[in-house]
């Protein structure tokens, strides 16, 4: 059981980290609490399903197209819906909620409320530390790690990353230094949604695909981001691992654990907030004193 907990926690933590890091990026740069973040994750899973099962495209090609399409869609949505109301914070908030509902309902109309299964990209089971891990879960872990390292490289080794970090640090000064803050925000939206849709594509064969699949990870992701500190990437990563392991321990060790895993994870978040109101690695934002 110990090995089960170790492996499940790591795999779930990796998926959560992909989601949470993207959410944290958007919040840091553009101060958007993007409720639709996991809706893009759902869209990517559906897109992948359509390309793979309906059109019988090769796995890798379908995955790349799905991620690219959803990322492009997110930029269009940002331009059409979020950008015009950017200065009204509350309007942005419900715009993202409404967007998520639109996606959910569109998928419901197009595919119905059924649970759809996707065949695994790679069949087979590996044995590690005496636990059987399907290759697909191993793939999730590898992809998550690769993407997190990639994000780190983009943020800390490129000019775009420098601009993103500068904008997150102080929007006005970044603007005064000649950065196109609007374009930086757009690039951040693209990166963050790309991470979410990659998560959606790799996770789809393990979980089932349905129009409500965005709600549960949304809540967990928000808990992770708050736990780690809003806008802090390190915090999101560590928070994701903490919540991933807490959920795994609850499911394997408690009776009725499957019902309680969300409640326990959220209670941990509340407990951390009571001790540290800015999360574990909270960034103190200038305008919020």
């Amino acid at each position: 059981m110990l090995q089960d907990i170790l492996v499940t926690g790591l795999v779930n933590g990796g998926v959560y980290a992909l989601l949470a890091v993207g959410f944290s990026l958007i919040f840091g740069v553009a101060r958007i609490v993007n409720i639709a973040h996991t809706a893009f994750y759902m869209l990517a899973a559906y897109c992948f399903y359509t390309l793979l099962v309906t059109f019988n495209l090769p796995v890798l090609f379908a995955a790349v197209v799905a991620v690219a399409a959803v990322t492009a869609l997110s930029v269009v949505c940002y331009k059409l819906v979020i950008e015009p109301v950017r200065e009204h914070e509350s309007a942005v908030l419900i715009a993202t909620i409404a967007l998520a509902l639109v996606f959910q309902e569109l998928m419901l109309v197009a595919f119905g409320g059924n649970f759809l299964g996707i065949p695994s990209a790679v069949e087979g089971v590996a044995t590690l530390l005496g636990v059987n891990i399907p290759y697909q879960r191993l793939l999730i872990l590898v992809v998550a790690a690769a993407m997190l390292i990639g994000t780190w490289l983009v943020l800390y080794r490129t000019r775009l990353g420098l601009a993103i970090r500068a904008t997150a640090n102080d929007l006005e000064v970044a603007s005064l230094m000649g950065m196109n803050v609007g374009r930086v925000a757009m690039a951040t939206v693209a990166i963050s949604v790309a991470l979410a849709s990659i998560a959606g594509v790799v996770v789809a064969p393990v979980f089932v695909v349905d129009p409500l699949m965005w709600l549960a990870p949304l809540v967990t992701m928000l808990a992770i981001v708050v736990l780690g500190g809003l806008g802090s990437l390190k915090g999101s990563l560590i928070g994701a691992l903490i919540i991933g392991y807490v959920e795994a321990i609850t499911v394997f060790a408690l009776p009725a654990g499957a019902f309680l895993k969300g409640a326990v994870a959220l209670s941990i978040m509340v407990a951390v907030l009571l001790i540290r109101p800015d999360g574990l690695f909270g960034v103190a934002f200038e305008e919020e004193r």
Partner: protein, 358 residues
């Protein structure tokens, strides 16, 4: 001439003429109140009454959210917790302890107040987005507990078989409408009192408010308690009206719905969210009654919200109010759009000034 009745009537008429008929928004409110009161006498269609009962109860919920989020700036993403606490307490007490619903509704509201105090205490140190996202967690923790102890809470099915408050549909209608008037008017009065002024100060700058000698934690706790009381009352009434208290009263979807109503109508107004509920809820329900559109109901709802936001980012009611009324530049009182001079201080209004300078 000295007949006291005739005197009272004339007094009322004078008040009506000088206070209500001078502003288009007040005329609209009066018309809305009268329409709701006479509706069952004129058009007692059970479907329409049912929709308006739901609308009224959700309007109470949205207005209570506005006091907390709009005025005090504690943007609560888990307002369904208070609604659900009221609903479940009232349902369990009336079913397991056999108390009459007239009493359990108030106990439900009291328990919701206690829950509000608890959440408020936990959230005192949190601010801004942290508070919003942390409050999202509480109703989900509650749902987790309900599902883990299905013997007590009924699990996914909830607690069913409750008594309703009144025997007839019309009786239930009047209970819902009158409680809505009482709650909304009470919240509106409170929000426009000194208490509301302090809440504005806390939202705009908490440090400055504290520096001015305001005990901000106490005010924040009080506003959480009041908001939870009103929301819990709505939840308890709701449970007794549909005669079941299920986990749907605690769902994230309901919390999000409340946030959408509040912001769509215009925050920090109290009447804004009420207008939003009265626009959006019957609209979506009416659209859902068409067979072809039944599945698209939520989609249409979301698209309407998105489109309206693009044109009125501050919400529906401030936009409409600006169209039908202008602010006097000298005394800051509201005037009908058609008035050439301010009705109170006689200063020429903006439109007139603009025309003269041309």
């Amino acid at each position: 001439m000295t007949n006291p009745l005739a005197f009272a009537v004339r007094q009322a008429w004078v008040n009506l003429k000088s206070e209500v008929f001078v502003l288009p928004s007040r005329i609209l409110v009066l018309a809305w109140v009268l329409a709701l009161l006479v509706l069952p006498l004129v058009y007692p269609d059970p479907y329409v009454l049912r929709i308006i009962i739901f609308t009224c109860l959700y309007a109470i919920l949205a207005a209570s959210w506005d006091l907390l989020a709009g005025y005090a700036g504690q943007v609560n993403f888990g307002h369904a917790l208070f609604f659900g606490a009221g609903a479940y307490t009232s349902a369990l007490l009336s079913l397991k302890a056999g108390l009459p619903p007239w009493i359990t509704v108030w106990i439900g509201a009291a328990v919701a107040t206690a829950v509000g105090c608890a959440v408020g205490t936990l959230c005192l140190r949190l601010r801004g987005s942290y508070l919003s996202l942390a409050t999202l967690a509480f109703p989900l923790i509650a749902i987790g507990l309900l599902f883990a102890f299905p013997g007590f809470s009924g699990g996914e099915l909830g607690v069913s078989g409750l008594k309703s408050l009144a025997a007839t549909r019309t009786g239930n209608y009047y209970i819902a409408v009158l409680s809505m008037f009482a709650c909304v008017f009470g919240l509106w009065k409170l929000a426009n009192s000194n208490f509301g002024l302090v809440l504005h100060a806390i939202r705009d700058d908490e440090v400055a408010a504290r520096a001015s000698g305001i005990n901000t934690p106490r005010y924040k706790l009080a506003v959480f308690a009041i908001s939870a009381l009103v929301a819990g009352l709505a939840g308890a009434l709701f449970a007794h009206f549909i005669r079941i208290a299920g986990p749907s009263t605690l769902e994230t979807a309901l919390s999000f719905q409340v946030v959408i109503w509040g912001i769509f109508g215009g925050v920090a107004t109290i009447y804004g969210p009420v207008i939003a509920v009265f626009t959006l809820y019957p609209l979506t329900d009416w659209l859902g009654s068409f067979k072809a559109l039944g599945e698209l109901r939520l989609l249409i709802f979301a698209v309407v919200v998105l489109l309206v936001l693009l044109f009125m980012p501050r919400g529906l009611s401030p936009w409409v109010r600006d169209k039908i009324e202008t602010l006097c530049p000298r005394c800051k009182q509201r005037n009908g759009r058609w008035k050439p001079v301010c009705r109170l201080c006689g200063a020429p209004l903006k439109a007139v000034l603009a025309a003269r300078s041309r």
